[in-house]
């Protein structure tokens, strides 16, 4: 790693490097770990990627608590595989973040300390089995819209992690949508359960794309640097457009009376998002913020003996191999 503080002292040289960096972005080149990058690009990416990795990890929690209650074996193996994928996705992105010169251990510590952010959607409770279907359909659906864009991000390791993740998320979305379609075509009670889940998850899912463009402080810079290729509002609109038809096909109603097709643009116009709720949850007052972190800390503490055993085993192997030699 180059000494960034020394580099910062050389202001004219820095300006030239900045210009060259921006030119590379403009040419659509991929930025790789050892390339020079503005300190702020590095910081913004570290923030964004680590939050993304944390979201994958915390995302396991609302679903994990339904594994033992899945209605049949087919659903159970699918959910287990999905939750395992989320752990894998967290690891892909942590590994990508480490290429920016930060330790995974440090990032994980920030998550456990409660100083790191993760996607607010995971601070909502999963009250019924239909919520698991709805998460796959909406939350993974929204994630696909976002991550398909990020697969073209200017930072190579991030983009490559996204390509890998996108391939796997499609299974997540389809298993969720299948759960919802099945419930919707089931008994009146099952149908009601599915509709109730849709009612509760729809708006928080729209909030997943972040504040409106005008209120999103990081957006301009991330767009300029090619980390993001589309704005929050563009991505949100794409998600709404995709989902309206999917809801209709399985006879579920999205809870927005203002939803209407704009013939001119082909976009589905939607109602006003409750941003007060969004900020409340971001700032820690969602229904499950404390519970999620507590569960994560417990899991980390309870996994300590496994890490200790693996370390001890590795040391023992090392000793016996040195003795043999």
């Amino acid at each position: 790693m180059a000494d960034q503080s020394t580099a910062a002292a050389k202001a004219p040289e820095d300006a030239a490097r900045n210009a060259e960096f921006e030119a590379r972005i403009a040419r659509g080149e991929s930025i790789e770990p050892k390339d020079w990058m503005p300190e702020r690009y590095r910081r913004q990416l570290t923030r964004m990627m680590s939050q993304h990795a944390h979201s994958e990890v915390v995302g396991m929690l609302p679903e994990g608590n339904w594994i033992t209650r899945a209605p049949n074996l087919r659903r159970k193996v699918a959910l287990l595989a999905k939750v395992q994928d989320e752990a894998g996705h967290g690891l892909y992105i942590y590994c990508g973040t480490e290429t920016l010169g930060v330790d995974r251990q440090e990032l994980i510590q920030q998550l456990l300390d409660g100083t790191a952010k993760y996607s607010s959607i995971f601070n909502y409770p999963t009250l019924s089995w239909a919520d698991i279907g709805c998460i796959g359909w909406f939350v993974d659906g929204a994630a696909i819209v976002n991550q398909t864009m990020l697969a073209k991000a200017s930072y190579g390791p991030y983009a490559r992690a996204m390509v890998r993740i996108c391939k796997e998320e499609n299974f997540h979305k389809r298993q969720g949508y299948e759960i919802m379609a099945t419930l919707s075509a089931g008994t009146p009670a099952q149908r009601a359960m599915a509709q109730d889940a849709v009612n509760r998850w729809w708006w928080p899912s729209l909030m997943m794309f972040g504040p409106h463009d005008a209120d999103s402080p990081n957006s301009d810079e991330l767009l300029r640097w090619g980390v993001k290729k589309k704005s929050n509002d563009e991505l949100r609109q794409r998600f709404v457009n995709l989902t309206v038809g999917q809801a209709k096909a399985i006879n579920l109603t999205l809870p927005d009376p203002e939803l209407a097709l704009d013939e001119a643009t082909g976009d589905w116009k939607f109602g006003k998002i409750d941003w007060d709720e969004f900020w409340r949850v971001v700032k820690g007052d969602g229904p499950c913020n404390r519970e999620r972190l507590e569960a994560r800390r417990t899991a980390h503490a309870e996994g300590e003996w496994v890490r200790a055993a693996a370390t001890a085993h590795a040391e023992k192997q090392q000793r016996s191999s040195t003795q043999a030699a």
Binding site: L91, E98, R104, R164, E304, R307, A310, T311, A312, H313
Partner: protein
């Protein structure tokens, strides 16, 4: 990888290379943390090959990799950049003749 770290800290980093089926070359997939090579292989399998992505996995301690640096990219690759005669398009072929 010198002093023994406490168990709750970072294990060494390993770079993971997967060989997809059908005789392709191993390709870099990402990295894992693990206390030993054996454990690194198992982690690599669980993280990068859950869907039959690989018929073979290599794990290499990240510190063991020597890489070219972007700063000397120009001079380092220069010997290969100005020799058009190393490419088939450099050579003329009579019109109408199929070479391949």
């Amino acid at each position: 990888m010198s002093a023994t770290p406490p168990s709750d800290s970072q294990w060494p980093l390993w770079e993971v290379f997967l060989q997809p089926p059908k005789g392709a070359a191993h390709e870099h997939a990402g990295s894992v943390h693990a206390p030993s090579a054996e454990h690194a292989l198992q982690n690599a399998r669980d993280v990068y090959a859950r869907r039959g992505e690989a018929v073979s996995i290599w794990v290499v301690p990240s510190v063991a990799i020597t890489a070219s640096t972007p700063d000397d990219m120009g001079p380092f690759f220069d010997p290969g950049n100005d020799k058009a005669y190393r490419h088939p398009q450099f050579y003329k072929v009579p019109q109408g003749v199929r070479v391949f």
